[in-house]
């Protein structure tokens, strides 16, 4: 009995540790782990003050609309711009009855040290003129460390690489409801625009 029990016990202990560490063999990267750790949707979206490209301070919950939020930084070598290009296409594909009247896009930069209002305003122009429902913003009066902690709380992992200005981060899109809850997350690297639009429309119809 002992001869079988000991290897099986070792297998159970090791499997349990790996199972716990990956949230049931689902999350193998720190990006997906942080998202799952933040909690199941719908979950409360913690309040944060942002400042938009015109310098106006605002709060997501005061918009009383659905918000599709993503996080970028302007010195990003490529992935942020790819995601924003995808968002630009998405914005123009969405029914004009939905965006911007019911749904707005908010792109937040998390590079507090290097990005400023002028830069985000200039950056916004790269995505054309007809994007009234797409706000570019910066966190308002918050320290870098506190903001990184805030990001983790909402499920977005960001890590500033030492000795460079590179910030490796999750590219998830968060859908926030008018009652200030994160109701859905999207992974633009895995989901097509058509899939995202379908799910967005479904969420808006369910309200």
């Amino acid at each position: 009995m002992k001869k079988i029990f000991i290897p099986i016990l070792s297998l159970i202990i090791c499997t349990t540790i790996l199972w716990k560490w990956t949230f049931g063999f689902n999350d193998f990267t720190i990006f997906s782990y942080t998202l799952t750790k933040a909690g199941k949707t719908p979950r409360e979206f913690p309040t944060i003050q942002l400042v938009n490209q015109q310098g106006n301070v605002f709060n997501i919950k005061d918009k009383h609309k659905y918000i599709l939020m993503n996080f970028v930084y302007l010195n990003c070598p490529n992935v942020c711009h790819k995601v924003n290009n995808q968002l630009e296409k998405l914005y123009h594909l969405i029914d004009t009855n939905i965006a911007p009247s019911q749904l707005e896009f908010v792109t937040v930069s998390f590079d507090i040290k290097n990005d400023n209002i002028e830069k985000i305003e200039k950056y916004r122009h790269y995505f054309g003129e007809n994007i009234d429902g797409w706000t570019f913003a910066l966190p308002y009066q918050i320290k870098e460390q506190a903001f990184l902690q805030y990001l983790q709380n909402i499920g977005i992992w960001a890590y500033k690489m030492p000795e460079s200005n590179i910030i490796n981060h999750a590219i998830y899109l968060l859908l926030i409801s008018p009652d200030n809850k994160i109701i859905k997350t999207f992974d633009p690297a895995r989901e097509s625009n058509a899939d995202i639009i379908e799910q967005l429309t479904q969420c808006l119809q369910e309200k």
Binding site: K2, P7, S10, I17, L18, W21, T29, I30, Y159, N168
Partner: protein, 171 residues
């Protein structure tokens, strides 16, 4: 050596993914193996304990190959040290088990390690998505490529060992 690898050179070894995964981790394992050779009389006598320990070693390898573990090890120094001690212990225990366990089990274990390294290497080299936030995608691909080479080398070693054993037995 442990002090040098775990403390003195740790920052340098943690800067890039190939250094972290292909130098620091195997070096710790090798140190454990060398340490076991200093205790030539020590061995795990019972087969069931041997298998239980091999499961632990295998799980340790899998754990430290996970992108999430790699990230936390780079960011958190305490967690990094746990990795070093775990690898040292794995190397040490591996030799103690291998001294007495059946040859077939050794081959099976080496085969599984080879398969794991190959799978990890292929995953890291073909994924165009960043898996570890502490490193760059170029480093990820480079690490993947070297892991494939290591897996091939280990496969050749396992095959030679296996067929040499068969030849000796038939004699």
């Amino acid at each position: 050596m442990f002090y040098l690898l775990s403390f003195f050179w740790n920052d340098w070894l943690s800067i890039t993914m190939p250094r972290h995964q292909l130098i620091q981790l195997p070096a710790m394992l090798l140190l454990g193996i060398l340490l076991a050779y200093c205790f030539s009389t020590l061995a795990i006598q019972d087969m069931y304990w041997g298998i239980a320990i091999l499961i632990f070693i295998m799980a340790s390898f899998i754990f430290w190959m996970l992108p999430h573990s790699i990230d936390v090890a780079v960011i958190n120094k305490h967690f990094n040290r746990v990795m070093h001690i775990n690898m040292l212990l794995s190397g040490f225990l591996l030799i103690l088990v291998f001294r007495k366990i059946f040859f077939e089990v050794k081959i099976l274990f080496l085969g599984m390690i080879t398969a794991m390294l190959l799978a990890s290497g292929i995953t890291l080299s073909v994924f165009n998505m960043l898996l570890c936030s502490s490193f760059s995608i170029e480093q990820q691909k480079q690490t993947g490529l070297y892991l494939i080479f290591i897996a091939i080398a280990l496969f050749i070693f396992t095959a030679i060992t296996f067929f040499s054993y068969l030849r000796n037995r038939s004699k």
